[in-house]
């Protein structure tokens, strides 16, 4: 069954042009879907609508077959229980006055999960490779990549049914990325993941399906393997072609910048 379904969703901000143009795709229960596109193409805006922070100008979003209606308090309350977001900018999404312990346990508290609160928080911290003593520090005492991992720990601690993740591994080095991707893979076996990223390699490693967005329009969608192996749209091809690779140095060129 489809957990999420977007049907011809359009959206404009009050100050600005149309940002989303008849966006349709669905996320089946238990699947991992990558949402890929250029900077400014509308990826975070889609997540904003899915979190119920804004309403489509037209079109509809359905969760488990029922329309997502921001006005319906009871429905939205149940929905918010099932969904956890990880925002693009960890700096602004972590409350600087709270210690890591209360930041990570916040979803548990607001959902009224009292059972094994402390051990759940500990497990989430360990899962994202942060040391145990991190729990008593404030967000400002962490590096960029560590803050990103605190945000991930908060999202997974309540074992939500749907995780909306916005560029959550972009600040991480590869070995940490691999560990986090492995973590998401594990989680993905029990939950559904919509994974926004501009990094095709990460999406290829993690996602069953891929949706490619160009300036607010879905230009290609399908199984990750088939879309990346045989991209139909010029935009998808150009994304694949411009991925930077570690250069092969030859005898004559000590410098590779000529190809920039």
């Amino acid at each position: 069954m489809n957990l999420l379904e977007l049907n011809k969703v359009c959206f404009s901000y009050t100050r600005g042009n149309k940002v989303l143009n008849e966006v349709s795709f669905s996320v089946a229960s238990g699947r991992t879907v990558g949402l890929v596109g250029e900077s400014g193409s509308g990826k975070s805006t889609i997540l904003k609508l899915l979190m119920g922070l804004a309403k489509p100008s037209s079109g509809a979003i359905q969760f488990e077959g029922a329309p997502l209606d921001i006005g319906n308090r009871i429905l939205m309350k149940g929905y918010r229980r099932a969904v956890q977001p990880v925002f693009q900018d960890p700096y602004s999404s972590l409350d600087p006055r709270q210690k890591v312990r209360s930041i990570i346990s916040e979803p548990l508290n607001s959902l009224g999960i009292a059972d094994q609160n402390a051990s759940r928080v500990k497990r989430a911290l360990a899962a994202v490779d942060l040391p145990e003593d991190a729990i008593d520090r404030y967000p400002s005492a962490f590096s960029g990549g560590q803050r990103q991992r605190i945000a991930i720990a908060r999202a997974i601690v309540s074992e939500p049914r749907l995780i909306l993740a916005d560029e959550v591994v972009s600040a991480l080095d590869l070995s940490t990325q691999v560990r986090i991707v492995e973590l998401f893979r594990e989680i993905a076996s029990q939950t559904t993941l919509l994974f926004v990223s501009h990094d095709l390699a990460v999406v290829a490693a993690l996602c069953d399906e891929i949706v490619i967005l160009e300036r607010g329009t879905v230009v290609e969608a399908g199984s990750t393997r088939s879309v990346l192996a045989n991209p139909q749209h010029t935009y998808t091809r150009s994304l694949l072609d411009s991925i930077p690779r570690i250069p092969e140095w030859d005898q004559t060129h000590d410098n590779v910048r000529s190809d920039l």
Binding site: R15, G37, Y91, S242
Partner: protein, 268 residues
């Protein structure tokens, strides 16, 4: 060529812990160096110490010299004068650099006006606005005229990162420190921004300290690399040496991971 930035035995610590230990490197005028290492290895702290911007609870010892000015122990006021003209930073999290209540056009206009004054140019509205628009185009911000009037929360994450780059570049500093400047950018936009940085270094003889976890990106833009692990330098050399034949097992691991990821897409 003389060194623009010289770091000698830099250590950084809190009351409880040493976070960076005896880091030394130097950057000649017009040179580019990459600072790499895992998350938490001390890259950003090193960059902050180099500009005297460490948070109050953290102390640095050793020496950091930019031009002829010792940074460590120098009061903030004195350092303020060199910020912009001698050194500018693109911070890892662009929101930290942006004033939430100021329109994008005004934020970029501020360093532009400062540089115009420094260079003895006219700072009338028209001249500043034109330069701001030109910078916005150089970092590939779409519809710059519309975007001038937006606030930071009214643009996308990658667009914010490009505003931060435009602000640093607007200073035309002798030394540009860029901390993960392209993390929020897709590959096509990233390529444009790298080309811009490359051009600035070439055209104005700017020096570049480039921090990134993205090794292919690092390899494409810098000549020399310093590898950090748990706050200590484990390897230093030309980009080619470090990438082709890393001598330290830790750097070997980093390179291997990068090549494995490279091959992941090829396998499809």
């Amino acid at each position: 060529m003389s060194d623009l930035l010289t770091v000698v035995d830099l250590s950084i610590r809190t009351a409880e812990k040493e976070l960076v230990k005896n880091v030394s490197f130097s950057l000649p005028e017009g040179a580019r160096m990459g600072l790499i290492g895992e998350s938490g290895s001390g890259k950003s702290l090193t960059a902050l110490a180099a500009t005297g911007l460490l948070p109050p609870a953290i102390t640095a010892s050793g020496s950091v010299i930019i031009g002829a000015q010792e940074i460590i122990g120098t009061p903030d006021q004195a350092l303020n004068r060199m910020r912009g003209s001698d050194v500018a930073v693109v911070f890892q999290e662009p929101l930290t650099a942006l004033d939430p209540l100021m329109k994008i056009g005004d934020q970029i206009g501020w360093p532009v006006r400062r540089r115009f004054r420094r260079e003895g140019q006219t700072t009338n509205r028209e001249a500043v606005r034109n330069e701001v628009l030109s910078l916005m185009e150089q970092v590939r911000l779409p519809e710059p005229k519309l975007m001038l009037n937006r606030y930071p929360h009214e643009i996308s994450g990658g667009q914010r990162q490009r505003v931060a780059i435009a602000m640093a570049v607007a200073c035309r500093p002798k030394l540009l420190i860029a901390d993960e400047p392209t993390t929020a950018l897709d590959v096509t936009t990233q390529a444009e921004v790298l080309k811009l940085l490359d051009g600035l270094v070439r055209d104005y003889g700017m020096s570049l300290l480039f921090i990134s976890h993205d090794l292919p990106v690092v390899a494409s833009i810098v000549d020399d690399v310093t590898v950090l692990r748990l706050g200590e330098v484990v390897e230093q050399g030309t980009t080619r040496q470090v990438f082709e034949a890393p001598s330290n097992p830790y750097s070997q691991g980093l390179m291997e991971a990068a090549r494995t990821f490279d091959s992941y897409l090829q396998d499809i």
